[in-house]
Symmetry: C2
Subunit: 326 residues, 2 copies
């Protein structure tokens, strides 16, 4: 089959038949910036929208925390439990380093060979907003293809955690015990987003430290007000390397999903996320159109110069340009 001549309908059929080549093709179209690809991607995503019984899990943690090993082992556990697992990575930095594209393939060798798992390297993009959009659309396609457990990994720096948090049902923060990491870990924003904190590498000489960290993080979590949905984040330890403690993590996630589905929060949260995507995407496109306008392109650099040299106030300069655009 020549993938280049496929219609949207061919690809949609392929997705519903869990044809991996066509699932990948769909995601490639989603990641493309060409207008004709975007049209096809929109048709495909629209056809894939449905209320599948899936769970979207966000996983974050600083480099070195052992995310790859964790996802490799955790993903394998889930496939052993009969799940179909898809792994996506949100890494806006990869557009520069291009590192993770090769990296992802070699990082999770075992899971990559697993017929019930699908690993997709990070979408590239010039903005976090662009990368986030592609990831969100890919989730919809993967769920239509039958993947019921979607893992979204983020690299644990900057704003990508907030983006991932806004597209998942459950947010897991991986930590290391001891050393400076404890202090740096108290990033209030991340702590507040976490539904579960897992201290990884609780093995060998590190077990005692991990337990100490567990106590410390549990205490820190108590300082935050309770979540809107009534869930209290907890702290667990695990060793991804020795494959210990992973089943307990899945139990917590399952309990969470079950409670949140019963209370209605699960569905309400996805609705709210959809609304946020709409608003974010609209605002992003409106601003892009503004910056692409020829008058803006012509005048903005001049105005910036004037403002930077203190010749005019930022607000007067802005109003000059806005008047011209009206």
């Amino acid at each position: 089959m020549n993938l280049a001549n496929l219609t949207s309908t061919d690809i949609i059929d392929g997705i519903f038949n869990n044809d991996i080549a066509l699932v990948s093709k769909a995601i490639t179209l989603i990641e493309s910036t060409k207008a004709e690809h975007r049209t096809m991607a929109n048709d495909i995503v629209q056809a894939c929208i449905s209320n599948h019984n899936t769970v979207r899990i966000g996983i974050t943690g600083v480099p070195g925390v052992g995310k790859s090993t964790f996802i490799e082992q955790f993903g394998t556990l889930l496939t052993n439990l009969g799940k179909k697992v898809a792994v996506l990575t949100v890494d806006p930095s990869s557009r520069i380093t291009k590192g993770s594209i090769l990296g992802d393939k070699t990082r999770m060798l075992e899971l990559a060979k697993n017929p019930n798992a699908y690993i997709r390297p990070s979408a590239s993009g010039s903005t976090l907003g662009g990368v986030a959009r592609k990831t969100r659309e890919s989730i919809i396609v993967l769920e239509a293809a039958g993947y019921d457990t979607i893992i979204i990994e983020t690299i644990g720096v900057g704003q990508s955690e907030t983006a991932v948090h806004s597209m998942v049902d459950f947010f897991l923060l991986l930590k290391l015990a001891g050393a400076g990491d404890d202090l740096q870990g108290i990033k209030r924003g991340i702590m507040e987003m976490a539904d579960l904190i897992v201290i990884n590498k609780a093995d060998g000489n590190n077990i005692k430290n991990a337990e100490l960290s567990k106590t410390e993080f549990t205490r820190a979590l108590h300082m935050f007000p309770p979540k809107e949905n009534g869930w209290s984040a907890e702290v667990l330890t695990c060793s991804a390397l020795e494959n210990k403690g992973l089943r307990k993590i899945w139990q917590v996630i399952s309990t969470y999903c079950s409670l949140m589905k019963d209370s209605g929060f699960f569905a309400k949260n996805r609705q709210k996320q959809n609304e946020q995507w709409l608003v974010q995407y609209l605002e992003q496109e409106v601003l892009t159109a503004f910056y692409d306008n020829n008058k803006t392109k012509e005048l903005l650099p001049e105005l910036k110069d004037e403002v930077m040299n203190g010749k005019t106030s930022p607000f007067a300069a802005a109003e000059k340009l806005l008047k011209l655009l009206k």
Copy 2:
């Protein structure tokens, strides 16, 4: 003089003559949302722009840290050193509580009576962006009126710290010693913005605790990468209540200004801030125009419903609206 019939020129003249009534009138115009007031305010701000030899100091800290007493004592010290001090507050919450309008007057009684100090309650506004804009324009007017030391206080919650950081030369974080505050204080973002951390209430039984906190914060600061401008934030203790340690704080700020002026960073930073104001204000206005558009007002609620009910993808919905607007 009937303040209602003044022209922009009258007010500009008044500002340059340090006529307090006309300075206040100018800020009232800046804070107004009426179109004719905005036109006058733009003229006034434009005329006031100049490179005055001033320092803009941001002060933040959680409620209870003693900001009012600190600013009262610190402002008095500065006027004793021959400075002319203006105090502004960025408190986007005050539009709801309206508390600080009365509060500011009673909070800093001594400074309010000082002929070389000017205290202005928080501008009200529906958005932090709006409040920030008004504060920035007020700074320009106050500097033209001869105030050489501008203190911008923020309430220490949410995004207002970032807004204030983007309009000052020096950012001071007030802290309390001991208790849960230490842990909560390790908000990475705020720590990174601070040029100086001051542990307040280092008096009575609290002196030892304050010294311990100083050590702890100094250690925490070492975990951050050095600042672009070469400055290393330090930690001091003070007692605003007993008027101890304030002179040392002013020495640090003076040293900072002198070093940064020599290196060129001081001027470069103000230029960069001006450029940021331009961009932020432009984007805010572009989005406001989008939301005020009749087609947006008509269609957006429907599209939100469709998206929330899973009938259409957020991106397809957005593109539908964007096409209509073109």
